[in-house]
Symmetry: C2
Subunit: 117 residues, 2 copies
């Protein structure tokens, strides 16, 4: 087995951690069809502005989104389309897990199928 060193493991863990909050997934989902400024994202996600700002800062720090200021507005966009490839794989995995655990066609599984592009 070729082990990753601690630094690389930490980088990978940090990346996954950025994706491990429902609010941040909502934000990324809001950016799926193009970049938006903080106000638009706040409206779309229904979260507080300060909260959205903090999550965006974390996502930017993790390299998942890009940021560009235009006047007083700041636009954020998905940095890498591979992010959604990831989410699609996870949705598939989660759907299989849900299926294993409940052995039926649950609402969750139907929902997860929606984003498989």
């Amino acid at each position: 087995m070729q082990a990753l060193d601690d630094s690389a493991l930490n980088h990978v863990a940090t990346y996954f951690r950025a994706l491990s909050e429902p609010t941040r997934l909502r934000i990324l989902n809001a950016l799926r069809d193009g970049g938006k400024n903080v106000s638009q994202i706040t409206a779309l996600t229904g979260c507080g502005q300060a909260n959205v700002s903090k999550h965006l800062a974390l996502l930017f720090e993790a390299g998942l989104v890009t940021r560009s200021a235009q006047g007083t507005a700041v636009f954020y966009a998905i940095a890498d389309s591979a992010t959604f490839e990831l989410c699609d794989i996870v949705c598939g995995n989660v759907a299989r897990i849900v299926e294993r655990q409940f052995s039926n066609t649950s609402a969750v599984k139907r929902q997860l199928g929606k984003v498989a592009r």
Copy 2:
């Protein structure tokens, strides 16, 4: 945009969260070449037994590993090979991010290249 409902988002977030700790990534890495019991995993990861047990319980709960008792030993194994597909994509993403941030061939980037299968 086809939004996921809260339940599906929570499932996906939980899945990512299970992968967001270096110790758990070490455990999964230890299982890359086949199932092992808790003692073996404890030895390979260098963590405490109680800690490993708790992480394994979390990974099992999240559906990432399978568990099977054989005598007094309990063997854990990767539940789905797609897990490593995920990690490979993330390693690729992280390598690009590291490259963007440091614009050089860092030790981290070289490490991350090792697991791309």
